[in-house]
């Protein structure tokens, strides 16, 4: 991929640069596509798992997302949100297309608790707390819930979330702020 031009958004962050460079290279270089896939498969999976009722459904949609990205890669243009926002937008569309847009976050606290290597925070939070949190999340209006999931499941910044949802940075920050404020009202935030 050395001979290809690289594009960056105001020139500073190598990690972002690397993604855009990889995306450009991935048009012709399968190695570059593989690297992009491995860099972002977790974010895509976590987002989709939060919108589906089973691991299998989330895996199926994750595969669909990368299959679509493979086809669409020549049309990718570097933007502020970078490759990850682009992929999450594809993932969101895939979930909507599949009719798997859920109105309730399908969490099973017991399954979550069995994860190996759970953090101390995970141990400290009881199943009851988890249920309360999941319910508070599920009770949010759709745009707020989407923003929270993109933030905490996929690890996106406000700018990237805005690109996925088609909102401005300011609007996204407001959205997140209101969502978290609402959740604090319904969830004990003194753990």
């Amino acid at each position: 991929m050395d001979e290809m031009a690289v594009l960056v958004a105001d020139g500073e962050m190598p990690l972002v640069d690397l993604d855009d460079e990889l995306a450009l290279a991935a048009r012709t270089d399968p190695e570059a596509f593989g690297l992009l896939y491995h860099r972002h498969r977790r974010s895509v999976y976590r987002y989709l798992r939060s919108r589906t009722r089973s691991d299998e459904d989330a895996i199926d949609l994750t595969a669909t997302t990368f299959e679509r990205a493979l086809v669409a890669m020549p049309r990718y243009r570097p933007r502020g949100g970078g490759v990850v926002a682009w992929l999450l937008r594809i993932a969101r569309n895939a979930a909507i297309d599949a009719g798997r847009k859920t109105s309730v976050i399908p969490l099973d606290p017991d399954v979550v608790d069995r994860r190996p290597g759970a953090s101390p925070e995970a141990v400290a939070i009881t199943n009851e707390d988890r249920r309360a949190l999941a319910q508070a999340l599920a009770a949010l209006p759709e745009p707020q819930r989407e923003a929270v999931i993109l933030r905490y499941a996929a690890g996106l910044t406000a700018r990237q979330i805005g690109e996925v949802l088609g909102k401005t940075d300011v609007a996204t920050q407001k959205l997140l702020g209101r969502a978290l404020a609402s959740m604090r009202e319904h969830y004990r935030d003194d753990a």
Binding site: L7, D17, H40, R46, L70, D129, R151, G155, V170
Partner: protein
């Protein structure tokens, strides 16, 4: 090259609620499902003509790097009838005014070496609104552990203050130890008056690809093959302002969804057009607009805009003209109104704001 998960360190742990949400949503796929996913993507890539996306942890082999480097050098030499050949096509995807900027750019040749890395402002173009810098970065020591160079960031100041970053930057290797880069900056106060302008340009750092860096075993650990090389490389250059600019204050008003929207000002330069719109919205919603500027059969797309939080939406269209006289129109195809309730209302147009430049 690496296989690392870009989401790894992005997860937030600032407050108990942050930590709880992080934890609640930290789904991990089962190993058997993950391996099936890898295989499905690999097959898809193979079916579509790409080879396996399986991870290769090694950097390209030295032989491959040499071949690619020589290939790139050959392409550059073959295409470089003049210095412009280094940049042709480079910024075309980012800025439709780039061709004009390149054609009218002047050779600068300001150069400085720091720790064996030479940074040269090779060419530059300045109009009443925007600066384009073409920068060459070279590793004069030809370090075997260094690959791709990037000099895509610069701080530009003048008597009016710091120039704004806009339009990003781009670059491409020229051989193994050198790269051609282009970046853009917007004047803090526009339009600039005719005449010349003294600019202070600082390239605080460049990035180089470290060919010896090994990816971490832990997928969650952040890693990049690029490392920062600090300068600074400092330049003082003087450029003539090309073409002047026409300023129109049309004051044309359309009512959109019950809100008067006024085209306040249009600044037309040789390679860019700046537009200011005001929405007199009593609800203090923010407005943004999608559309283009037209004169006859010429169209200039709006490529970016501010949020309009102060009631003023500022936008820029790429492309422009030296002779702005004539009848123009700003065609807004869609207005986007964002209320305080976060609800985004997309209002389909079009509305045409007609104005005349003498």
């Amino acid at each position: 090259m690496t296989m690392h998960d870009a989401s790894g360190d992005a997860r937030l742990t600032r407050t108990p609620l942050d930590a709880a949400l992080n934890d609640l949503l930290a789904f991990e796929p089962r190993a058997d499902l993950l391996s099936g996913l890898d295989e499905r993507v690999r097959l898809a890539a193979a079916t579509l003509g790409a080879a396996s996306p399986a991870v290769r942890r090694q950097s390209p082999s030295p032989r491959r790097r040499t071949v690619l480097g020589l290939l790139a050098a050959a392409v550059v030499l073959a295409g470089a009838g003049g210095a412009l050949g280094l940049y042709e096509g480079l910024g075309a995807g980012l800025d439709v005014g780039f061709g004009l900027q390149l054609d009218r750019s002047v050779a600068v040749g300001a150069t400085e070496v720091h720790d064996g890395y030479r940074v040269t402002i090779d060419r530059a173009y300045l109009d009443a609104e925007r600066l384009m810098l073409a920068i060459i970065a070279t590793d004069e020591l030809e370090r075997p552990d260094v690959g791709q160079l990037m000099a895509m960031y610069a701080v530009v100041t003048d008597q009016d203050g710091e120039w704004q970053g806009a339009g990003g930057a781009t670059g491409r290797p020229i051989g193994h130890w050198s790269a051609a880069n282009v970046l853009w900056r917007l004047a803090p106060v526009a339009p600039l008056p005719a005449g010349s302008r003294r600019l202070h340009v600082v390239v605080p750092h460049i990035f180089v690809r470290d060919l010896t860096a090994s990816p971490p075993v832990d997928e969650n650990q952040e890693w990049s093959p690029f490392r920062q090389v600090d300068g600074p490389w400092t330049f003082d250059i003087e450029l003539a302002v090309d073409g002047g600019a026409a300023v129109a204050t049309p004051g044309v008003v359309h009512t959109i969804a019950g809100v008067p929207v006024t085209l306040r000002q249009v600044v037309i330069g040789p390679s860019a057009i700046r537009i200011e719109m005001e929405a007199d919205d009593p609800s203090r919603a923010t407005w943004t607009f999608v559309g283009w500027v037209r004169r006859g059969d010429q169209g200039f797309p709006i490529v970016w805009g501010s949020l309009g939080v102060d009631g003023i939406a500022r936008m820029q269209a790429d492309g422009g003209t030296n002779d702005a006289s004539g009848d123009w129109s700003l065609v807004i195809s869609e207005a986007i109104r964002q209320g305080s309730d976060d609800v985004e209302e997309r209002i389909a147009g079009p509305w045409s704001f007609e104005f005349h430049v003498p």
